[in-house]
Symmetry: C2
Amino acid sequence: MPAETRVNKVAKVDASSARPDSAPLTERQEARRRRILHASAQLASRGGFDAVQMREVAESSQVALGTLYRYFPSKIHLLVATMQDQLEHMHGTLRKKPPQGDTAAERVAETLMRAFRALQREPHLADAMVRALTFADRSVSPEVDQVSHQTTAIVLDAMGLENPTPEQLSAVRVIEHTWHSALITWLSGRASIAQVKIDIETVCRLIDLTEPKEPR
Amino acid sequence: MPAETRVNKVAKVDASSARPDSAPLTERQEARRRRILHASAQLASRGGFDAVQMREVAESSQVALGTLYRYFPSKIHLLVATMQDQLEHMHGTLRKKPPQGDTAAERVAETLMRAFRALQREPHLADAMVRALTFADRSVSPEVDQVSHQTTAIVLDAMGLENPTPEQLSAVRVIEHTWHSALITWLSGRASIAQVKIDIETVCRLIDLTEPKEPR
DNA sequence: CGGTAATCTAGAACAAGTTTCAGACTTGAT
DNA sequence: ATCAAGTCTGAAACTTGTTCTAGATTACCG
């Protein structure tokens, strides 16, 4: 009945690592998806959010505009997916060289600063991804949540926690809030790199507050 | 030489309270500006960010589209200005009934929760303003900075501080980061009201950390 | 194989933000 | 009162995200 192995509604799912969603993709479809994400990241690296124009992405990835929209129902979806993709990279990289700090707070701050430095190397890409992330509305919630969970996983990794308490989870959320918002102020030129560093270090002190004695 | 009392480039400035910018506005211009902001807030209250359509704003405020763009060079500028406007209100309101908490942290948390409840009454308006704020790029930096300063003033008021230390300023920045980001997650349905409350209370604990000995 | 349903393509069409332009209107100065 | 310069208006044009359509392709089932 179907054609290229059905892809029910939107092929927004799955892929290499962690996206156990609805439908498996054909190899050609997987290739298309990858081409699209690659084109997206490339255009974003050049000129940020505005440079990622749907027609251009379609052309660069040799896919019809309609197809692009079948895979990613909006520009925001596309950029959030691009961010998921990049985050996976980063998490992998971080796993290999875990932070060295003595306290959880230090390790988290170090991890975030490492990520920050990576973003500084591709400020336009960072701009596109972060702007998309914060501009996303309800229709993108599932994808944004994925990004959020991935980020949480990275932070918890750095803390070395298996079973965080609700209190600690709240602290982690606050750290992520700060992380996102600080990135935005940096990207829009309203805060210096030094200031972002200070703010990250400041918020990480919250961790100590939630780790009084025995992490039972 | 000029006409309606020159307004050099953009009439983006000034107004009632705090915007000591370049050019004074004619009464008619002041009235136009006010009509525009009113229309903006009204449309935003109805349907949020998307409902604020420039053509509609122009029509509602009985101003030509070109004029609207002369006053506010982009939709984002318009919405950020709308936010400045609303913030002034709020700051005024808060001044009248200062928070009651014993510690600075409590007072700040109470203040922010009060603001949060106000936003809950107009979720669409909140959506429009916050989305605009975080989506703003460099071209809107001055205006966004104003909003940021206004927010800082509110928080410092709640803390009862005259001369904050750099450390405390960083804590305040982190609080604002959390505030913005938490609002976004709430607006996009990814966090509950309760969670926002918890996160605000959590981040406010940072204040105690920066207030070593004698507070008052 | 052949059939059929889903997918992909090319391109037009639409929507909303932004720009542009000619002409009418105001303002402050002479 | 007149005038020069800046402002406002109305309307069209342009840009980019998004939707739609008709026809060509592809995948899988029997």
